[in-house]
């Protein structure tokens, strides 16, 4: 790993140039602008390049091997990587687990796990959801019982994104059945090669194995593979949901989709149709308004102000907007909307791919319905 400059001391413009040069220079020969997630075998070269340059964990403190970026600088990095079309790496370790260990982990845990995230030796999966629980994350039934100096885990997790690529998984497990839902949950770290761990792939609507189920059958892990204390896993897990919410609401997905929509319209001869344009500019205005709302949250992050529950509005609007753009794409694509493969072998022209990829955005990460329930109570102060 190289010695890193003090990124935060740079001007935004200089850092932007640096990030752009970095990705242009170092991006390996793997797909760009992929609408679906790449698997570890495909994206690994990029992970390793980032790792090698010390760029794999932008938000971690420098003393732990991160770039120590402020929220503002981090945003610039994301923008430049997305502008280039860099693939998203398996980032559950860098984005989810790392910050959690930094906040709640023991020194031993930090020493054991952080370096292996940085190096790519550990690829992590997230085990929160369970079958039948959906957005009710606290309805954890997967159980862990302390037996001597080991936790014995039984149960099932599902919707583990790219879980088939992971060699470790963190899970929420019930460690006390006598208390109310949230109170008896612990956060455990489990190697996926432990005896009793099995997985089953789940194909998404695009018929790609994006998720897996993970089954735990008398799986044993050391007692100290627990983060945040026994029965305190819920607090730890919830604490992570702050900053990410802002980035989920970024206008990038939608603005990139508008560019594809324009190309699809040009191909269909609709670009100069006033009726199409009427809808196009309405969506374009929506994207621009979303951008302005997004910036107000970025300013908060930049100023270190706390992000409130109202940030859910960003996610709600962004995800529904992305879907509406995809719906206009489908309509404009005409007969080609139904094709399984991209026209002219160009994914950018594939309306269905965007339509399908837009579906999970209103379901995962807190469904739109759950978010609206929450907003109604927390922000609009409406009664239960």
């Amino acid at each position: 790993m190289k010695d890193l400059p003090d990124f935060n001391a740079m001007s935004d413009a200089d850092f932007r140039t640096l990030a752009r040069d970095f990705v242009e220079t170092n991006y390996p020969d793997i797909p760009r602008y992929s609408l679906s997630r790449l698997h570890w075998e495909d994206v690994k070269p990029w992970y390793l390049v980032l790792s090698e340059h010390g760029w794999i964990c932008p938000t971690w403190p420098r003393q732990h091997g991160g770039m120590g970026l402020t929220a503002g600088k981090h945003l610039i990095l994301i923008e430049e990587f997305e502008r280039f079309g860099a693939a998203r790496v398996n980032d559950i370790g860098p984005v989810m687990l790392g910050p959690l260990l930094l906040k709640y982990g023991t020194e031993a845990q930090k020493a054991e796990f952080l370096p292996k995230i940085l190096s790519g030796e550990h690829v992590w999966a997230q085990g929160y959801s369970e079958p039948g629980a959906g957005s009710d994350l606290a309805a954890v039934r997967c159980e862990a019982v302390l037996d001597g100096d080991e936790w014995v885990i039984n149960g099932q997790k599902t919707w583990c994104t790219l879980g088939m690529d992971a060699n470790w998984i963190f899970i929420l497990a019930r460690t006390d059945k006598t208390v109310k839902k949230q109170a008896g949950i612990s956060f455990l770290l489990v190697p996926m090669d432990a005896p009793g761990v099995t997985t089953r792939n789940i194909e998404n609507l695009e018929r790609e194995a994006e998720f897996c189920e993970v089954f735990f059958d008398d799986v044993r892990v050391p007692a100290d593979y627990i983060v945040g204390g026994v029965n305190e896993g819920w607090t730890a897990a919830k604490a992570l949901l702050g900053h990410e919410r802002v980035f989920i609401g970024a206008p990038r997905l939608s603005s990139a989709a508008m560019t594809r929509l324009k190309r699809i319209a040009l191909r269909a001869g609709a670009w100069h149709d006033p009726v199409f344009r009427d809808r196009y500019v309405a969506l374009q205005s929506d994207v621009a308004d979303l951008g302005d709302l997004f910036e107000t949250y970025v300013d908060m992050l930049r100023d270190g102000r706390p992000i409130g529950a109202d940030v859910a509005m960003l996610k709600i609007f962004q995800s529904e907007l992305y879907q509406r753009i995809s719906e206009l794409m489908m309509e404009v694509a005409g007969e080609d909307a139904g094709l399984a493969q991209p026209p002219e072998a160009d994914r950018q022209l594939h309306a269905a791919a965007t339509w399908l990829s837009a579906r999970p955005t209103t379901i995962f990460g807190g469904s739109t319905e759950i978010m609206r329930n929450m907003l109604a109570k927390a922000i609009l102060d409406l009664p239960s």
């Binding site: 629980a133 009710d136 609507l205 009726v275 404009v332 094709l339 579906r359």
Partner: protein
């Protein structure tokens, strides 16, 4: 409309649907549908043979030409049932080929020994059939033996080896083809071409209606049993209200399809036919995509898996909603007709 006539089509439709149960059982046969996907033409020629034996391809062949001479109401009722079962076989295209060919419909195609389809569309997003030499969006072409092709020159019946197929896999696991062909020697005059296109548009709408109907049922079943926060999610008012929105669209679509079919059967003028076909298809296409969006959302994470049956409906809707005109094309057509209505 006299009561006797109502009864007659209802009874005919009942009989057709009953016999069609052999290929599209009332409880669905989604396992077969799932297996047929992404495998050759995406459908089973044996099922086409069975449909032929049941006489389905004779529905729109006049009695004087040896057919059943049934109406669009019966055809729509059949199409609705096919849609409910997501039948992948090109039964409707074969019926439309029969409607075009009438007495020229080959015996083997009538019986389903040979698979027949039809081709009409001139260009992407076009609702015109007058061009020749190349036709787009031909359903069931991979696996077909015969092609009834309409153009401004008339109606040609082409064997498989007279056409060049350009096949593309569709989301539902079937194939949609463009075909090219040399101008054939024998062409029949085909004054009914426009009218068959409108019939086909209507029947396709009924297929989408059936698909939407069943997708809603499956989704309602899921809402009744799936629990979250210790309550069935179907008890949440917001989902209830959204479900009623789908239901209203569905009933509007059903009413519009069968009223339009009645008008078609009882001698509607050209403008009424053109408007009716476009309007009914507009509603059905929007319904199918509306149901699809909500079905996925209401199924939650299950909704975005390929293993859930609801996905079969969604992918079929995506594959077929824009055939016979995407909504924007249909609205543009209706806007043109606005002036014709004015002039009339």
């Amino acid at each position: 409309m006299a009561d006797g006539l109502v009864e007659e089509w209802v009874e005919n439709a009942r009989m057709i649907v009953e016999s069609a149960r052999a290929i599209v059982p009332a409880d669905g046969a989604l396992d077969r549908v799932r297996k047929a996907r992404f495998d050759g033409p995406g459908y089973d020629r044996a099922v086409m043979a069975e449909a032929g034996e049941l006489g389905l391809f004779l529905m729109r062949v006049g009695e004087e030409a040896g057919g059943l001479g049934l109406g669009m109401r019966e055809t729509c009722e059949l199409a609705r049932v096919l849609g409910r079962g997501l039948l992948p076989e090109p039964v409707l295209p074969a019926i439309m080929a029969g409607a075009l060919l009438q007495e020229h419909m080959p015996e083997a195609a009538m019986k389903g020994d040979q698979v027949i389809t039809w081709a009409w569309q001139d260009a992407p997003g076009a609702l015109t059939w007058q061009g020749a030499g190349r036709k787009l969006a031909v359903q069931g072409a991979t696996g077909a033996d015969l092609f009834a092709v309409v153009s401004g020159d008339g109606l040609a019946l082409l064997p498989r080896d007279a056409v060049t197929l350009n096949a593309a896999e569709t989301l539902d696991g079937g194939q949609l083809c463009s075909i090219s062909y040399a101008a054939p020697d024998a062409q029949h005059p085909c004054p009914a071409a426009q009218s068959v296109l409108e019939d086909a548009t209507l029947a396709h709408s009924a297929y989408l209606l059936g698909l939407s109907e069943r997708a809603l049922e499956i989704t309602l079943d899921y809402l009744r049993v799936r629990k979250q926060f210790d309550r069935p999610i179907g008890s949440f008012q917001s989902l209830q209200h959204r479900a009623t929105e789908i239901k209203v669209s569905l009933e509007l679509s059903r009413a519009a399809i069968f009223a339009t079919a009645r008008r078609f059967d009882t001698g509607a003028d050209a403008l009424t036919r053109a408007r009716g076909a476009a309007r009914v298809k507009l509603r059905a296409a929007e319904l199918a995509m509306h149901v699809s969006r909500e079905a996925i959302q209401m199924h939650g994470a299950m909704g975005i898996t390929d293993e859930a049956d609801i996905g079969l409906f969604v992918r079929k809707a995506m594959a077929e909603a824009n055939l016979f005109g995407a909504p924007r094309v249909l609205r543009a057509r209706l806007a043109e007709l606005l002036d014709e209505g004015e002039a009339a």
